[in-house]
């Protein structure tokens, strides 16, 4: 057993690197700082690192330790893609760190904090921050910053897309992705991260494979585990990674075989003051929830596939088939997934389902302003518009608003100046309206800008583009699945300028 390591040792001695090994062992001794001058190569590099940082970077406790490690990778340009990951909460605490290569001191995050301070809002923190020796790439989701540390050239989208995938995975695992949830499940999180990256390069990012490797915690399983002492780690090996359809688990079994598809379309629009459409486009997705036994091979066809102008697919979709026949043919992943996102060609005029009548005015002389908006249905193909929600960011000068809605509830937050009005359903006979006055800060002149109105709404059983699924067929399995399809139209980024 011990023979081979010895062999290794002798080999090293022959190749003449005992120096190197001595250098590596040194940091284990205490008082690393005082020894820096002896280790010239490492020391020089690290000295620069510290010089580059502002003085208080040094307070990072790991400083001495980091410095002592021979930073050999600096000699060569090669380095891993994603070196480390730090999770930072809204108050600026690093509550999780994971390193895929040598440890990067968390003091590197100080650069991030600096940038965070400079940016007024969280979403204005630049996603890419260069520091003297690293690059920090971050995404901000669920009030958590996911900060990846990289050391060398890498396509930034590669890292950003990966980080989003990490967040999606967490969400998939724990239902929500919050600081508390991550802290509670820190071991699972760690195991998942370990599987997702190898040496900084993505390894298993399909949630189906990950779930096979590490089972997501459920309440039931936690109870069972504590009783039986079994574990979350799957005892199977990740066979999925070897399969030709890496996105699908093997040996899936259901008693009720069902496949549901939701066609969800979102309208992005900017409406002019006068009510004319400046820009409007439809972006749609087909989300699927497929619970089918075995290895089903599905084909989904549309009545009017020509509508789809630009599409992007889940990797399971056979692109050739789409190109030639405009048919979606795929072996689906197990569970929930996004099959397709599409964009409806701009030539088709977009029907705008709602309109907003507004009258917002500030008077120069008085400290009062008038506020009145009415929402009404426009082209809804006979369906009801529901879940209507109006939000508007009022100018800073507005102190308060006294409003009365004809239906629904409204809130005005005098601190953030955000007005939101939860309208609910629109009744075409009696259009909902919100009327009242605004109190302006005394002494200041009237704000020269009017607020924009952001609108949210939903229309069930309607795909506003007119897209229709023709049929869904299954091959490869014998049973008859239950199939369902649902359409919905939603407001995406729907803005009315006033």
């Amino acid at each position: 057993m011990a023979r081979t390591p010895l062999l290794g040792l002798s080999a090293v001695a022959v190749s003449g690197s005992p120096n190197q090994s001595a250098r590596c062992q040194a940091p284990r001794g205490s008082g690393g700082v005082s020894r820096v001058p002896i280790r010239a190569p490492g020391g020089v590099v690290c000295g620069r690192r510290d010089a580059g940082a502002s003085g208080w970077v040094l307070r990072g406790g790991g400083g001495a330790r980091t410095r002592c490690r021979p930073v050999r990778s600096w000699g060569s340009p090669a380095a891993a893609m994603i070196h480390s990951l730090f999770l930072i909460n809204a108050s600026g605490d690093i509550f999780l760190e994971k390193h895929w290569k040598s440890v990067v001191s968390r003091s590197v995050c100080d650069y991030f904090f600096e940038a965070q301070e400079r940016a007024s809002e969280a979403e204005n923190v630049p996603p890419v921050i260069p520091t003297p020796h690293h690059y920090l790439l971050s995404v901000y989701r669920h009030k958590i910053f996911f900060v990846a540390v990289i050391q060398s050239e890498v396509p930034p989208l590669f890292v950003i897309e990966f980080l989003h995938r990490v967040v999606d995975t967490f969400q998939d695992y724990f239902g929500v992705c919050s600081e508390v949830m991550i802290k509670d499940n820190v071991v699972v999180v760690y195991e998942v991260l370990e599987e997702m990256l190898d040496n900084g390069f993505p390894l298993a990012t399909e949630s189906n494979i990950l779930k096979e490797l590490i089972k997501p915690p459920t309440i039931l399983r936690t109870v069972v585990n504590t009783i039986t002492g079994s574990t979350n780690v799957g005892d199977q090996l990740p066979t999925g990674q070897l399969s030709v359809v890496p996105w699908r688990r093997t040996g899936v079994k259901y008693t009720n075989n069902e496949a549901y598809f939701d066609v969800i379309e979102e309208i992005d629009a900017i409406i002019d003051k006068s009510g004319s459409t400046i820009t409007a486009e439809i972006q749609g997705v087909i989300d699927a929830c497929v619970k089918l036994t075995g290895m089903p091979d599905l084909t989904l066809s549309f009545m009017n596939p020509r509508l789809l102008d630009d599409v992007s697919f889940h990797p399971c979709v056979r692109f050739k088939r789409w190109e030639s026949e405009r048919i979606l043919s795929f072996i689906p992943p197990d569970g929930n997934f996004r099959l397709l996102s599409y964009h409806v060609s701009a030539q088709n005029l977009v029907a705008i389902p709602v309109y907003v009548k507004h009258n917002i005015s500030f008077r120069d002389s008085s400290s009062l302003g008038r506020f009145e908006i009415t929402v009404g249905p426009k082209q809804t193909m006979g369906k009801t518009v529901e879940g209507v929600m109006v939000t508007s960011q009022m100018p800073k000068g507005v102190l308060n608003m006294t409003l009365t809605p004809s239906q629904g509830t409204h809130i005005f937050d005098p601190v953030t100046k955000l007005l939101s009005w939860d309208v609910g359903k629109i009744n075409p006979q009696k259009l909902p309206s919100l009327k009242g006055s605004m109190t302006l800060q005394a002494g200041t002149s009237k704000p020269d800008e009017n607020p924009t109105i952001n609108l949210q709404f939903k229309i069930q059983q309607l795909a506003i583009s007119g897209l229709k699924v023709n049929r869904l067929d299954m091959y490869g399995e014998k049973y008859k699945p239950f199939k369902g399809i649902k359409y919905m139209t939603k407001a995406g980024k729907f803005q009315v300028r006033t």
Binding site: Y190, Q241, D310
Partner: protein, 1125 residues
């Protein structure tokens, strides 16, 4: 305890970083209230026998690591558990080990042997994970072990393990860059891998270790292009980026000859002049060498194969393709990426941020591309500021005469935004539009002047600054505006704006001669209350006025300078002193006084308002360096297009019909022959059948000749049946012997010369080869014609009277007569094969793993076209003697005959080449691959003392005289196994040693495929069934139920699995769910018929009909196993 002081440090350090929060962290439960005790507790738990306790301890330790706490003092306790049976404990130990091994190197070594054992595990997943952890431990001492492990894993059977090996390469490289050369060898080998699983990872390794070795890509280029769509998404990104660089070095610019007319027309309007000049030069240059541009098919291949990936859901992949198109595609085609990029704008804001940066760069070069999507860049009030500013940038870049009015209208709404940074950026953008588009300059200027009365100071100030820049372009026409601005000094308080106004008035004081002194008067009054930059500009204005209009402003200037003299700011005091000396003539003042006017009132060039994204495209788009506009560590420059395209033939890969195809020795010769064959392709259909056959019979000396045919065969790899006719060969052979005896002698002479020539001329393959061959070809052609005339009738006759006995009889006799020349030929072979590696060192595989066996240079390889020809012959009247088919191409498995260790450096592998053994059709050809891993020459390698069981015969391979160190030789021997799976034992001798070895054939290798039609198949099957009835049912028919695994349900997979398990030929079949295969045992020639009938779902039924019951039973077992894999 060495680690404890460090531990204290660590703790102290992190406590300053938001420590309080950990106190109420539920998971930590106040671990640090009593650190050392708690750690003792953990140690105890780790030492216990209960897995659950260990697990609990490991979980707590991992939680500590996750929060950045130091747990290194637990190393000894943790590392003990590395061999723990519990899989979760094990995983967590791995996590710990990878984190701390670097700090505890000595102790980490204790774990190494566990991984080494894991590397030998029969389960591929365990091998992979062992390699993964082993390579993640950053302990320099184990570098040699890692190197060895990587090398072994790189030739592992499992693609998953190979993938892991590829991942391990950069790890090792970053640990010890001295290993580079060896690692490059491994990379080279893995690059040749054909599985999608490996491709992404190995290219990643390539990029990290040796991105400069672009030459390694040549041979793999087409394969990578073709595999691309099936590679996992992260790998796609890496491959696409690498191929972009590759293409830039290998192909010509697709836009070089494109007429620059439309673009330069546009430029003439808006472009700056020097740019035009540059363009003109470029145009002249390109005109000079204009010649019809034809895109390299490989270039086209890349563009075609990446295009579908624009539809990927992964933003990084889309971006990668977009940049590839931007950098590589002809101008007319680049447009396709716009749509996909615009789609990405719907994604998360970070993605938008990166995409917009790239769009901004692209929109400068290719404005037309994004114009249709102008509205997608309109700004919403909810966008984050950084996104707004980028969108503004894009909108500005897209502005042209036709859309400027819409854009300006849009800008007007932006100016009213609440986000002041954004408003400022908008005003700047308006300024840029005004400079770029002459038509709207006045409109913009008027608009900006209107903004001067805006209530918001910031807006006004920004406008003033922009107006100042605009006015600088044509000041004379705008004295009105300057006057207007002069009035503003009463109201505007923003220092920058005031300073700008003062500068303007000073600069153009001759245009406003009346106002300027008045402004100075006012400013002198308020001088003491101004901001510093304003004061400086007041001094500046005073100086200029003094020089141009000293009558009116002399006293004012004196006054201002005096005020400045006692200012608190030393800059201002300095400036005042300096200016006074310069402009006010005194007796002491120096020579500069005379030039004061020139100094102050020189023509100042107008500032150029241009995008900060201009010229950023010299960085590869989508890269970090591009985003930062600075070279990032490890950035690979995007090379410029070459002027002359490098030789495109470097990418030619001879994919042989046979799966073991690509091989050094074969390839070394190939180029010269591909030329001939391609030249002769048109004739090939007629002549090949004959000369290839005749060659075969006149002696395998022709081995070298027949190879190129195997090359041309590649196209029909799936259906081709190279050696369709060992049956018919025999017949022809007779013809040959009488017909072309003379000729074949001639040829033999030729042949003798040729290898020598080849050796000499080594690497310059093409020329001598093609020069030498035509005459031969002609000769052969002649011969072939002769033979054809004679053969046709005789062949018929021969077949008509076919009885298998007769065929075998003539066969054996001929094999005897041929054997002489055959051995002679083989003896000549080794030298040439040794020359191989030297000729193309690029292709040389590393010597650790024997290269895949070389195809037997057998004579009976026939082109596809021939097969069809022959089919016509055979089908008509030979229902009873179905023609033998060439092997179906499945994966060929190699077996080890002699391990490197056992063979003292000599390693021998063998495989069943599935080609008829040239000497004797009753023998199974065994391809033997001998590599010499010692550092001494091995001499006189031969087979001796074959001890075959009764009836078994062994045809030894000719003695190999010498095998240089590091060299590999490949030979063929024939074994007649008598249709049994008994092993053939013999001795392998070198000049010093004897090794006892044995070859045991899988049952599937004891047969050769047969071609037959569906009807024949049915007839034979019935016949066999009837035979069975006579005796006991089931004697000649074995049926087994099979469950097909998911991945083995496609037609292709099934056929492949069956053909890989047995050397059978597929029989066409009418029914969808049935697969039929037929073969004949090699020795006795009895038919083996396989039917696989797919039932519903995964179920299937396998039926094998054969007289040989044992063979049938074993075959069923093998096929079932293969299908279940």
């Amino acid at each position: 305890m060495a680690a404890s002081p460090a531990y204290g440090e660590e703790k102290g350090g992190s406590s300053s970083l938001g420590e309080p929060e950990y106190g109420h962290d539920p998971a930590s439960g106040g671990i640090f209230s009593s650190d050392y005790k708690r750690h003792d507790d953990l140690k105890e738990m780790l030492d216990s026998n209960k897995d659950s306790l260990k697990l609990e301890a490991m979980k707590r330790i991992v939680a500590m690591i996750a929060r950045g706490k130091n747990a290194s003092d637990l190393f000894p306790a943790v590392v003990k558990n590395v061999a723990c049976k519990n899989i979760e404990v094990k995983k967590l130990v791995y996590v710990y080990l990878v984190r701390y091994a670097e700090e505890q190197q000595d102790l980490a070594l204790l774990s190494i042997s566990t991984f080494q054992r894991g590397l030998k595990d029969p389960n591929q997943l365990i091998r992979a994970s062992a390699l993964r952890v082993l390579s993640s431990i950053r302990v320099p001492i184990i570098v040699p072990i890692m190197m060895l492990a990587i090398k072994e894993a790189a030739s592992d059977m499992s693609p998953y393990v190979r993938k892991t090996a590829a991942h391990a390469i950069p790890k090792l490289y970053s640990l010890d860059s001295d290993q580079k050369d060896q690692l490059i060898e491994v990379i080279e080998k893995l690059l040749a891998d054909k599985t999608t699983l490996v491709a992404g990872s190995v290219v990643m390794a390539f990029e990290e270790v040796c991105p400069e070795r672009i030459d390694l890509i040549h041979k793999n280029y087409r394969k990578l292009c073709n595999l691309l769509i099936d590679v996992e998404e992260w790998g796609q990104v890496v491959i696409i980026n690498m191929l972009t660089r590759y293409a830039r070095t290998q192909f010509l610019s697709p836009n070089q000859n494109e007429s620059l007319l439309e673009e330069s027309a546009e430029k003439a309007f808006y472009g700056s002049e020097d740019e035009d000049a540059k363009d003109a030069k470029a145009e002249a240059a390109s005109l000079a060498k204009r010649k019809p541009y034809v895109m390299d098919p490989d270039h086209r291949l890349l563009l075609r194969n990446t295009k579908p990936l624009l539809q990927s859901r992964n933003a990084a992949v889309v971006m990668a393709v977009a940049q590839l198109y931007f950098h590589l595609a002809p101008k007319a085609e680049v447009g396709v990426i716009a749509k996909a990029l615009v789609r990405l704008l719907r994604s998360h804001s970070e993605v938008q941020y990166v995409v917009l940066q790239n769009v901004a760069t692209m929109s400068i070069k290719r404005r037309g591309m994004f114009e249709p999507y102008l509205k997608s860049f309109y700004i919403r009030s909810t966008d984050p500021t950084q996104i707004k500013i980028l969108k503004l940038e894009v909108l500005t870049n897209l502005a042209n005469e036709t859309n400027i009015s819409t854009i300006l209208r849009e800008f007007q709404t932006y100016i009213r935004s609440m986000d002041k940074d954004f408003v400022a950026a908008t005003i700047q953008a308006i300024g840029r539009c005004a400079t770029n588009i002459g038509k709207v300059r006045d409109t913009c200027l008027n608009g900006l002047v209107q903004l001067l009365s805006n209530r918001d100071e910031l807006v006004v100030a920004e406008s003033v600054v922009v107006i100042k820049k605009l006015l600088q372009m044509q000041p004379a026409q705008h004295s009105e505006i300057i006057k207007h601005m002069a009035k503003l000094t009463d109201n505007i308080q923003v220092p920058m704006a005031r300073a700008s106004i003062l500068w303007l008035i000073g600069e153009y004081c001759e245009h406003v001669p009346k106002i300027a002194p008045d402004v100075l008067r006012k400013m002198a009054k308020s001088f003491t209350n101004e901001e510093d930059i304003v004061k400086l500009q007041v001094i500046n204005l005073a100086a200029k006025l003094y020089l141009t209009n000293s009558k009116q402003s002399k006293l004012l200037t004196q006054y201002v300078l005096n005020l400045a003299k006692y200012d608190q700011n030393y800059d201002i005091r300095d400036r005042a002193r300096f200016i006074r000396q310069l402009i006010v003539p005194t007796e002491k003042s120096g020579a500069l006084n005379k030039y004061a006017k020139k100094l102050f009132l020189a023509q100042k060039p107008a500032p150029i308002l241009e995008s900060s994204f201009k010229d950023r495209d010299h960085f590869q788009l989508g890269s970090l360096s591009h985003l930062l506009n600075a070279k990032a560590v490890g950035y690979q420059e995007l090379p410029d297009w070459p002027d002359e395209a490098p030789d495109p033939s470097v990418r030619n890969v001879e994919v042989r019909g046979a799966p073991w195809g690509a091989h050094v020795h074969g390839r070394a010769k190939v180029p010269e022959w591909t030329k001939c064959t391609s030249r002769e392709k048109r004739k090939e259909k007629v002549e090949k059948p004959f000369y290839s056959d005749s060659e075969g019979e006149s002696g395998p000396t022709e081995s070298a000749d027949s190879e190129p045919e195997s090359v041309s065969e590649e196209s029909g790899s799936s259906s081709s049946s190279g050696s369709s006719s060992s049956g018919s060969e025999e017949e022809e052979e007779e013809d040959e012997e009488e017909g072309s005896g003379e000729q074949s002698e001639d040829k033999e002479e030729e042949e003798e010369k040729r290898p020598k020539r080849k050796e000499k001329e080594g690497s310059q393959k093409a020329a001598p080869g093609s020069a030498g061959s035509p005459s031969e070809e002609e000769e052969e052609e002649e011969g072939a014609k002769k033979a054809k005339k004679k053969k046709a009738p005789q062949g018929r006759k021969g077949r008509a009277e076919t009885s298998s006995e007769e065929a075998s009889a003539s066969e054996s006799s001929s094999s005897g007569s041929d054997s002489g020349s055959e051995t002679e030929a083989k003896r000549r072979k080794p030298p040439s094969s040794r020359a191989g590696p030297k000729e193309i060192s690029l292709l040389d595989l590393d010597d650790f793993t024997p290269p895949p066996p070389q195809p037997v240079p057998s004579s009976s390889i026939v082109s596809t076209s021939l097969v069809t020809d022959l089919e016509g012959l055979t089908l008509t009247d030979t229902s009873l003697a179905p023609a033998l088919l060439s092997p179906a191409f499945g994966a060929v498995r190699t077996y080890e005959l002699l391990h490197r260790m056992a063979g003292e450096g000599l390693s021998v592998e063998y495989c069943f080449s599935r080609r008829p053994f040239p000497g004797d059709p009753h023998m199974v050809a065994v391809q033997i691959q001998i590599s010499n891993n010692t550092d001494a020459e091995v001499k006189s390698l031969r087979v001796s003392e074959p001890k075959p069981l009764s009836g078994m015969r062994i045809q030894e391979f000719p003695e190999i005289e010498r095998l240089a160190p590091g060299d590999t030789a490949s030979v063929v021997m024939g074994i007649d196994f008598c249709d049994s799976t008994q092993a053939a034992n013999f001795q392998l001798c070198t000049h010093t040693r004897h090794f006892y070895v044995s070859i045991q054939p899988p049952v599937g290798e004891l047969m050769a495929p047969v071609f037959m039609s569906e009807n024949e198949f049915k007839k034979e099957q019935e016949h066999l069934a009837r035979l069975g009835e006579g005796k006991l049912t089931g004697m000649s028919e074995i049926t087994e139920k099979v469950t097909l695994p998911e991945k083995c349900r496609s037609d292709h997979a099934i056929v492949q699995q069956v053909t890989s398990a047995a050397n059978v030929g597929r029989v066409p079949c009418g029914a969808d769910n049935e697969y039929r295969f037929a073969a004949k045992t090699v020795t006795s020639g009895s038919l083996v018929l396989i039917t696989l009938e797919r039932r519903e779902g995964a179920a299937a039924q396998l039926t094998v009909n054969s007289e040989k019951m044992v063979i049938g039973t074993m075959l069923v077992k093998d096929i079932v196993q293969a299908l279940a894999q």
